[in-house]
């Protein structure tokens, strides 16, 4: 048991480090990209946007989204160059519209705004086009890369309907020397600074508290609802079959779901939790099928490549839930093992208790990171391989290159998808089995002293 806890600590550190490394690489990419970008904007300096020139000129006092850039003349520049990393990130992100193939389906937007309260509208008002950028704005909201942004300018009067000519993004440094993305909407030839929805990251992940909360039914929410409804429908059907075909051998959907159900029960719940498994079985089943369903949903290419289980928010919710359930079910022995490990000398306890206490939080943290990391990484890998087609094809200028890229990308993507299919099951299983082991440790009652 202890060895496992230590292993988990080590594993989680490795995970954190690997993510750090991963993101470090990413940030390198980003900085490289931003260099390119700034070079780019230097080239187009004057007609691109006057605002950028000011920034390049060392306008550093601007904190996050300064309102000073509002209404400066700007022109729309079309970046024809294909940016693989931006495309990949855009495709694994949540969005306020659901794009399937060429069709962009509007979704309901629910915005909480400190000044105006709750606002409901359809994202169809934005008339999202290429890159899920809205052609029109509503009040002071615009749709940029699939997500709702608000114009953070006092001199901009909210309107029912206005045309958005385009968007632009600048990597700048804020007063603390931190890289931030400054996003602009270009309306009537003038650039207006945008602010993102509120992101609960304490400003660490490029977000922070802004003037509005986006509580919309996003692409991920729609996917969750659809997958949950589908799962409920098939399981309800199977459950009814148990009443109708009482005492008979399973048939149809029942015989498909039953082995999986029994697998989770006999190989996950019972070995880890023991006699009390019946209480937690529905939770474990829900976790397993929720994750599995969403993992698989996200892998169907024409369903919009949704990345629900790869978004940290969703895994965080699951992890927090597991954390709460584990700790409210914690028996005396569980707390004793954390704060006062029996049969261990006092000087070891000095080290062990903080480790155990940390472990209590690291456990759900690893659950959260592992699932999100694996699924997002898989999606990005597939997107990168698909991106080869565009890189080789020079964004559509070279048909031969695109052909060669396709020839390379198809086997690679096929291979990656096969791997991802396994990952979908493995990650759902791992999340479930670890949840079961945490619950098992919490409800375990033993009188042995080791």
């Amino acid at each position: 048991m202890k060895i496992k806890a230590l292993l988990l600590v080590v594993m989680s550190f490795c995970l954190v480090l690997s993510y750090a490394q991963h993101n470090h690489d990413h940030s390198h990419d980003h900085s490289g990209h931003s260099h390119d970008h700034s070079g780019h904007s230097h080239d187009h300096g004057d007609h691109a946007h006057g605002a950028s020139a000011t920034h390049a000129g060392g306008h550093h006092e601007a904190n996050d989204y300064s309102r000073g850039d509002c209404g400066t003349p700007a022109k729309v520049i079309h970046h024809s160059e294909y940016d693989p990393s931006a495309t990949a990130i855009h495709h694994v992100s949540d969005a306020n519209v659901y794009t399937i193939l060429e069709y962009t389906i509007p979704l309901p937007a629910i915005i909480y705004n400190k000044e105006r309260g709750l606002e409901f509208f359809s994202t169809g008002k934005f008339h999202a086009g290429h890159h899920e950028n809205g052609h029109y704005g509503y009040k002071d909201y615009v749709l940029y890369e699939g997500s709702i942004h608000r114009i953070a300018c006092e001199n901009f009067q909210p309107q029912e309907h206005f045309e958005v000519q385009g968007f632009d993004m600048q990597k700048v440094k804020d007063s603390k020397g931190k890289d931030i993305e400054k996003r602009y909407a270009i309306i009537n030839g003038k650039g207006y600074v945008l602010e993102q929805r509120t992101i609960w990251d304490g400003g660490l992940l490029g977000g922070g508290m802004t003037s509005f909360y986006d509580l919309s039914i996003t692409k991920n929410v729609v996917s969750m609802i659809l997958v949950c409804l589908f799962l409920f429908f098939i399981f309800r059907k199977a459950a009814k079959a148990y009443a109708v075909r009482d005492g008979q051998a399973p048939s149809g959907i029942q015989s498909f779901l039953e082995p999986v159900f029994q697998f989770i029960r006999d190989d996950v719940a019972i070995p880890f939790i023991g006699d009390k498994h019946e209480k937690f079985l529905p939770l474990l089943m829900s976790i397993f099928f929720f994750i599995l369903g969403l993992n698989l949903w996200g892998q169907v290419p024409f369903l919009g490549n949704v990345n629900v289980t790869g978004s940290l928010t969703v895994t965080m919710v699951l992890a927090i839930l597991v954390f709460i359930i584990t700790n409210i079910n914690g028996k005396k022995d569980y707390w004793k093992h954390i704060f006062n490990m029996p049969g261990v000398p006092w000087f070891v306890k000095l080290i062990l208790t903080p480790v155990e206490l940390l472990g209590m939080f690291i456990k759900p943290l690893t659950l959260m990171l592992r699932l999100a990391g694996n699924i997002t990484a898989g999606h990005i890998a597939i997107l990168s391989f698909v991106g080869l087609i565009f890189i080789f094809g020079k964004s559509g200028q070279s048909m031969a290159g695109a052909g060669a890229g396709t020839a390379i990308a198809i086997p690679l993507t096929l291979f990656m998808m096969a791997i991802e299919l396994i990952v979908a099951f493995v990650q759902a299983f791992v999340f479930t089995i670890l949840t079961a082991s945490y619950l098992g440790a919490a409800v375990e009652e033993h009188d042995d002293h080791h």
């Binding site: 929805r197 992101i199 990251d201 490029g206 909360y213 399981f235 159900f261 529905p282």
Partner: protein, 170 residues
């Protein structure tokens, strides 16, 4: 420095957190009430049914073997009984035969004794009769002698001998 800036999938957003909590908790509740609960119950019921059926079959088999053993015992007992009966019958036969033989022997002995006694009796009777006859004859002879004048000793003797010859002792 570790930075995930702008990596949208890893940005915790309140909207998604809110909806995913609501959806997952609802999913959990609905599934445990309407799907996983009944399924778990159904599966465990079937399992217990199968277990019961197996136990029943096992007990039936035990019962069967018990019955078989009983039958065998009964059969063995019957066989033994038959053997005893046969033996008894045989013994009875032997004893009956022996008895009969004994009885026959006894009877034969009795009969022969009786016969002997009869013979003896007859013999005695005959002897008595002979004696009587002899007496009568002697008397007759004497009578005849007396009646006849006997001339001499020789005549006497021849006469007596002729008389004696006349007496035929059967």
């Amino acid at each position: 420095m570790i930075t995930l800036a702008g990596f949208a999938p890893f940005q915790p957003t309140p909207g998604l957190a809110l909806w995913s909590s609501i959806i997952f908790i609802l999913f959990w509740w609905l599934m445990s009430k309407y799907a996983f609960g009944p399924i778990a119950k159904g599966i465990s019921k079937r399992e217990s049914d199968i277990k019961d059926a197996l136990a029943e079959a096992e007990s039936a088999r035990a019962e069967m073997s018990k019955l078989k053993a009983e039958n065998e015992q009964i059969l063995a007992e019957a066989r033994e009984e038959r053997a005893t009966m046969l033996k008894e019958a045989k013994d009875a036969k032997t004893s009956i035969i022996a008895e009969a033989k004994e009885k026959a022997k006894e009877e034969a002995t009795r009969i022969s004794t009786n016969a002997m006694r009869e013979i003896e009796n007859e013999k005695q009777a005959a002897l008595v009769e002979v004696k009587n006859k002899v007496g009568i004859m002697a008397t007759e002879i004497a009578e005849k002698i007396i009646k006849k004048q006997l001339s001499g000793q020789a005549d006497h003797e021849s006469f007596v001998s002729s008389l004696v010859n006349d007496i035929k002792l059967n």
